[in-house]
């Protein structure tokens, strides 16, 4: 049932030009960053070859692309997530799902899966960009893999937050603005924390991603994203349950 709902959401997502524009946007911008980093690497190659401790091609070229992609995801996820529930509420189509023999959890997970699945497309395409470097030499597969995983986890968290905000309103645009607000707050939450042990660092959505980007991610970094995703998914289910009770 989750997959049936996810397929329906993807069908709706791809019915609008937004999905295609977003894919093109992500691809073009990441490719530009990739090319400029590759050029920089080619210029520095001679000096780097002399220093055995210098960064490799993966670190120089691929990591910055993923870093940019993380920012781009923050820009596009609210646009994609805003309609997931808010628009169904506005069009009064939620009743179609609520009347079917599926649970609220299945509905919410289906919608989340659709968006994460969609975001996996550009993520994997960026990973393929990294693999292209194989044509010119060896790459650090571990670092590439950890970056890909990090971006996927980050996207899933963004998607869960967007889905939750979308469940709070019947106005997709309001949902988008609300999601931007929460994502930016979580992105910048540790900006004023000068103390390296400040708990604000724990909450920061970008700090954990930096560990993935540098290839030094530990279990807590992954757990952070999983917990955030589960938390907001659960809140969405709660919110829809409230609809049925309060209406």
């Amino acid at each position: 049932m989750i997959f049936t709902i996810a397929a329906k959401e993807l069908r709706q997502l791809f019915a609008s030009p937004l999905a295609w524009v977003v894919l093109a946007f992500l691809q073009v911008v990441s490719a530009l960053i990739f090319l400029s980093r590759l050029q920089a690497f080619l210029q520095m190659q001679m000096q780097m070859a002399a220093d055995p401790n210098s960064a490799g091609v993966t670190e120089t070229v691929v990591t910055p692309v993923f870093g940019t992609a993380a920012i781009l995801m923050m820009m596009v996820v609210p646009l994609l997530s805003m309609r997931l529930i808010a628009e169904e509420r506005r069009n009064q189509t939620l009743v179609f799902l609520f009347s079917a023999p599926v649970t609220l959890t299945q509905i919410v997970l289906g919608k989340l899966l659709a968006l994460v699945g969609f975001l996996a497309i550009p993520t994997l395409l960026i990973a393929v960009m990294g693999l292209v470097l194989l044509m010119g030499g060896a790459i650090d597969f571990g670092l590439l893999g950890v970056n890909t995983l990090g971006l996927l986890l980050l996207s899933a968290t963004f998607a869960a937050i967007g889905l939750y905000v979308s469940s709070l309103t019947a106005q997709p645009v309001v949902a988008a603005v609300g999601t931007y607000t929460i994502l930016l707050v979580l992105w910048l939450i540790n900006i004023g924390a000068t103390d390296p042990d400040s708990p604000m660092h724990l909450l920061s959505i970008v700090r954990h991603f930096e560990s993935f980007a540098r290839g030094v991610a530990t279990l807590p970094d992954a757990v952070y994203y999983v917990v955030m995703t589960v938390l907001f998914t659960g809140l969405t289910v709660r919110r829809l349950e409230g609809d049925r009770v309060r209406a």
Binding site: M1, T4, I5, K8, R11, Q12, A15, S16, N91, Q92, T93, L94, V95, F96, L97, F98, S99, A100, P101, V102, T103, R244, V245, A247
Partner: protein
């Protein structure tokens, strides 16, 4: 209710159903029983609690108190199982307009757990029954309102549910579309069991085997459609005369309680319930050469029937109609 009716399979039973919105009691103590092969009309003015009741019956709204059984399955305890046997068309058909009719109905069938191998059969059967066979490849957004309504009904029956619940299924349709949808509902009543809500008395009369009238959130009437007729017959006649006599003459005819002048040679004549003066009027019109060209019995409006029934109910039970 006759013995044969009592022996029929009960497809839906709601007991003691109440729903509060804050302090306001939108629905109170509603009792419903539906049998296979029956069309039950839920009749009420706008805001009487019809939609709220239907939302509860379909699991879209939690009742404040009460129980709902679909067949022998408790809707509140085992919603997934109960909802498989339910089909629901809300007031606004929940259509994904960017879908093609076929896609949408396939989705409805899959969500209602029609086995994969049977989905195509179920969809083509639902399309045939709802007259959608020609438009399967069309996008829902491009269909007329009448066709969209049929798609809404098709999604409610694609999984062959025991109970079909239709909220105001003919609102906003033109007379032809309305007629077609009504024919479809009559057909549905034969195989499934149907609850439909309406605020049109004549619609309930043509479609339903039984009606329950809901007013201010409570059931004020529950009987066969035939018994409802007695409330419909009013005690007033509409008379058209070319040579209108003085009102006093009309009012003086035996059995006439009151006569009122209406526009352009028409008069309204009110009589006592047990004395129908129709024959008297016809005879008088012929004898005096009044030029009778129109004589009809006024039909009571739903509002009239309501006031008639609620009056009867509150005086019979000595109950107060809630404010």
């Amino acid at each position: 209710m006759s013995d044969t009716d009592a022996a029929k399979e009960v497809t839906l039973r709601a007991s003691n159903l109440s729903r509060n919105y804050g302090d306001k009691r939108a629905v109170r103590d509603v009792e419903l029983i539906l049998h296979r092969g029956e069309v039950l009309g839920l009749l009420g003015l706008n805001g009487a609690g019809k939609s709220t009741t239907m939302q509860m019956l379909t699991g879209n709204l939690s009742p404040t108190t009460g129980a709902i059984h679909i067949g022998d399955v408790d809707l509140l305890a085992r919603p997934a199982e109960a909802k498989r046997r339910l089909g629901y068309l809300p007031e606004t058909p929940p259509l994904y307009k960017e879908f093609k009719v076929d896609e949408y109905l396939r989705l409805a069938a899959r969500l209602h757990r029609v086995p994969k191998a049977q989905v195509n059969d179920a969809v083509s059967q639902a399309k045939r029954r709802c007259g959608l066979a020609e438009v399967g490849g069309r996008m829902i957004a491009t269909l007329s309102k009448g066709y969209q309504q049929r798609v809404g009904i098709a999604q409610a029956i694609v999984h062959l549910p025991d109970v079909v619940i239709l909220d105001e299924p003919t609102v906003g349709l033109d007379p032809n579309q309305r007629k077609e949808v009504r024919e479809l509902i009559t057909e549905l009543g034969e195989r499934h069991s149907v609850i439909l809500s309406t605020h049109l008395l004549e619609e309930a009369e043509t479609l339903c085997d039984r009606v329950q009238i809901i007013d201010k959130g409570r059931i004020v009437y529950n009987d066969s459609i035939e018994s409802l007729q007695q409330f419909r017959a009013s005690q007033s006649l509409h008379v058209g005369l070319r040579q209108m006599p003085a009102l006093a003459v009309l009012a003086g005819l035996p059995g006439v309680a009151e006569a009122q002048m209406e526009a352009d040679g028409y008069a309204r004549i009110v009589h006592a319930p047990d004395r129908d003066p129709t024959d008297v009027i016809v005879r008088a019109a012929v004898e005096n050469d009044w030029g009778l060209h129109h004589l009809s019995r006024d039909h009571a409006s739903l509002t009239d029937v309501f006031s008639e029934i609620t009056k009867g109910a509150s005086s019979a039970n000595g109950e107060q109609v809630p404010a």
